[in-house]
Amino acid sequence: MADQINDYVKRPMRYENIDGLGELFFGVLWAMLMFLTLLHSTAPSSSAWRCNTTFFVSAVALAVAYLYGYKALKKRITYPRTGYVKYRSNRITIRISIAGLTAVAVAIAAVFLLRHPASYPPNMVKMALASAGWGLFYAFTTRMDSVWRWVVLLALLVIPPSVTTLPMGPLWSDTLPFVLQGLIFAISGLIALALYLRQHPVPECGAE
């Protein structure tokens, strides 16, 4: 019985990702940040994208768009279909902010690593470790209750490290796998969102 009560208490937290919007937004943010990093490192030296200020302003703008866009879509898609929840002490906002800040921090670290290429391990090992981390994050934050989620997890573990073996320049080989990681997260979010929309049409009489 105590387990059943704990399950009820935790259910609103699981509800946060019922629509896949969390994964979708995180994936897009991650892919965009990595793309920005790639742009920052490969653009011609006279380009504005090469400028550190442009990079930081763009990264912050992305993080802000992520927070506000996420809330706006929640209001438009989720609340009319399966209801509104306000979490205590902004736990969800804190989680989203941590995810956003982590992504920005990793992007900054990636820029640093690209500028000092000699001081880090070979790409394949680095990507395998990063993918294992993201795989754990994915398995921890989503309910692994369907086959497609396991396929996404497998893709997350296998595709980014494999891409590093393709013949391409060092800058591309450093950032493209990260862009792919973000896109895999985004695709997972899109699948979850499509399933959610199919299973939960807007009630005819609206919310009560």
Partner: protein, 100 residues
Amino acid sequence: MNEQARSISMLDRVIHEPGRLMIVAMLSGIEEADFLFLLHETGLNKGTLSSHLARLEEAGYVEITKAYRGKVPQTLLKLTRAGRKAFDQYRKMVHQAVAR
């Protein structure tokens, strides 16, 4: 009467009903939710959910606010301080009863 039976007999009857226990437990982890969320998550029908909420409001455990989201009416539900305290007490008693 042994200790376990005494613990069970002292459980809060308002919360102990399965439908109301679900409602109170879900509301305990959040600030507030609307009627639609509880309808979706509990699987109860509108009439049953309404009557459970009325009983919880009567006991002073749930605060019900009628509002509008745009032009759509919205019923917001929040566990009161007394409701939170009663639920914490209920959980403690259940743990004690199970442990014995």
